[in-house]
């Protein structure tokens, strides 16, 4: 099985929009046809071949060299695998329905916005609004899994409707803003103001949040069978917290000011 490698000819001088470039859309196209595909670039458009050298490689994944100005990588992807060697710009994996997106670098704002399925793995850190809503949408990501090894910016999981986001580092301020359902797991510190307007869903944290949004009430520490179940079904989650995901956690319920019944589980 062969796939394409898109190698940047030079660092991008303007923002490039890679939406619609994924293994499914490139399947059956010759290298020349791929090079002729038009990409929005800056305030105009250019053939893909002007920015990337197109070559065929063994394996099933579409390989792309990264650049912080490379936006919408893997956006709307439904199947297949994309591996990016380096950083990506904004809205990577946004609206993705299925497949796997691996980013060996940092990701910009809007990572996994409106995600509906599939897996996104980021080796570095990510910007604001991970798993949030696409512009004009009422709800954020609905399903799928996002794993960011490093830190994430403000607004993690805003209005998120489902799915799982794992953060290996710290999460910026105002995480889980208006969160409707789903699970956020943060191994580092949870920034101030988390859980404002939170309706349902779970935030799993390794240490007590310094300043969650007002409206959370502690129900005390408990042994949760659910955490053991999570640890076994999602090995990445067990990897994030180690033995601490054994089952005991303090449960903060909120946001009661918004009539919400979500929870922050602080692992003991």
């Amino acid at each position: 099985m062969s796939a394409y490698r898109l190698t940047l000819r030079a660092p991008l001088a303007a923002r490039a929009d890679l939406s619609g470039i994924n293994p499914a859309t490139l399947a059956g196209l010759s290298a020349q046809a791929v090079a002729w595909l038009t990409l929005p670039y800056g305030n105009g458009a250019v053939p893909l071949g002007d920015l990337f050298e197109v070559s065929q490689v063994e394996g099933g994944a579409l390989m792309i060299s990264g650049d912080p100005r490379l936006d919408f990588v893997g956006a709307q992807m439904a199947e297949g695998e994309i591996e990016v060697d380096g950083p990506v710009g904004v809205l990577a994996g946004s609206g993705m329905i299925g497949g796997r997106l691996v980013i060996r670098g940092d990701a910009g704002d809007g990572l996994a916005a409106g995600l509906e399925g599939g897996r996104i793995e980021v080796a570095g850190s990510a910007g604001a609004g991970v798993g949030g809503a696409l512009t004009g949408d009422r709800q954020g990501m609905k399903d799928g899994m996002v794993a960011v090894a490093g830190a994430v910016g403000p607004g993690l999981g805003a209005r998120m409707r489902g799915g799982l986001v794992l953060v290996g580092g710290d999460a910026g301020p105002r995480a889980a803003d208006g969160l409707i359902a789903g699970t956020l797991a943060v191994a580092g510190r949870l920034g101030a103001g988390a859980g404002r307007g939170m309706k349902r869903g779970t935030i799993l944290v390794a240490s007590a949040p310094e300043a969650p949004a007002p409206g959370f009430v502690s129900t005390g520490p408990h042994d949760f069978v659910m955490l053991a179940l999570l640890a076994r079904r999602v090995p990445e989650l067990a990897g994030l917290f180690g033995d601490r995901l054994g089952g005991r956690a303090e449960r903060l319920v909120g946001n009661r000011l918004a009539g919400g019944a979500g929870e922050i589980l602080v692992l003991q």
């Binding site: 699970t183 408990h222 042994d223 179940l229 640890a231 076994r232 079904r233 999602v234």
Partner: protein
Amino acid sequence: MTEAPMIINGVEIRDSFAEAFPMAGTRLIITADTQRWAHTAAASLTGFATSVIGCGCEAAIERQLDPDETPDGRPGYAVLIFAMSLKDLKKVVPLRAGQCVLTSPTSACYSGLEGGAAIALGRALRYFGDGHQIAKSIEGRRFWRIPVMEGEFVCDEVVGSTTAAVGGGNFLILARSRPAALAAAEVAVEAMGQVSGAIMPFPGGVVRSGSKVGAKYAGMIASTNDAYCPTLRGVSKSALPPEVESVLEIVIDGLSEQDVAASMQAGITAVCGLGAAAGVVAIDAGNYGGNLGPFHFKLRQLMAPVAGETTL
């Protein structure tokens, strides 16, 4: 011309067959903090479930599970539940899980079967949470957390099912004495416990009161199988030779026809292992002439591979 008798280790395998019926079935995984409490919940769930005739379903523990085999890493049991129709199964599973597992300390209840029609588990039990219940979708599966006085009850939203299940596989152990019949039945049940996908729903896996269809009394759909009652020899038309003093039956339900066949074979093989020296005279099976149930498990056909390896 009559067929040559099949005798294994001095035990006659009669030229008979077990007549079995299609059923709907499912498997639940029940866990708890300790093996004892997992067993308590599983035993309670499968209690009073010997026969669909009077219990509405047939259920039993399939096998014990090690912690590394269960969804939450705790000790557990796999149980199988069978009913005459999918509609009946959809009624008994949430009913029994709600009354016997939800109520049992530290327990959790998971789906042990994928595919087929979805049977409501948490989807039905969640209302006990009175609005405080929490759904959690993990990697494509939805679970419910229901707050209870002891903590939280966790269960799957639904459990899969099969309508290819088979109920009513059986064989009869004809023995020289009551202790000999009981010892042989115990050995059979032990061996059959190793076969996955099948259960023996009667007490301890054994039936002492095999039945025939109908009775002299109106309204009785089943009554004692007088042809196999040793105390009625000479009174009713008996199927027992003079040396047989006691008969025990083992009834088998399985998730598939193959599971029932494998279980029957394992059980009869174990009984034959004891042999005539232990007081076992013959193996027979219960049927209704072959006109009621679509599945016929012919004893000699089942045991042919074993008989071929055994000295007569």
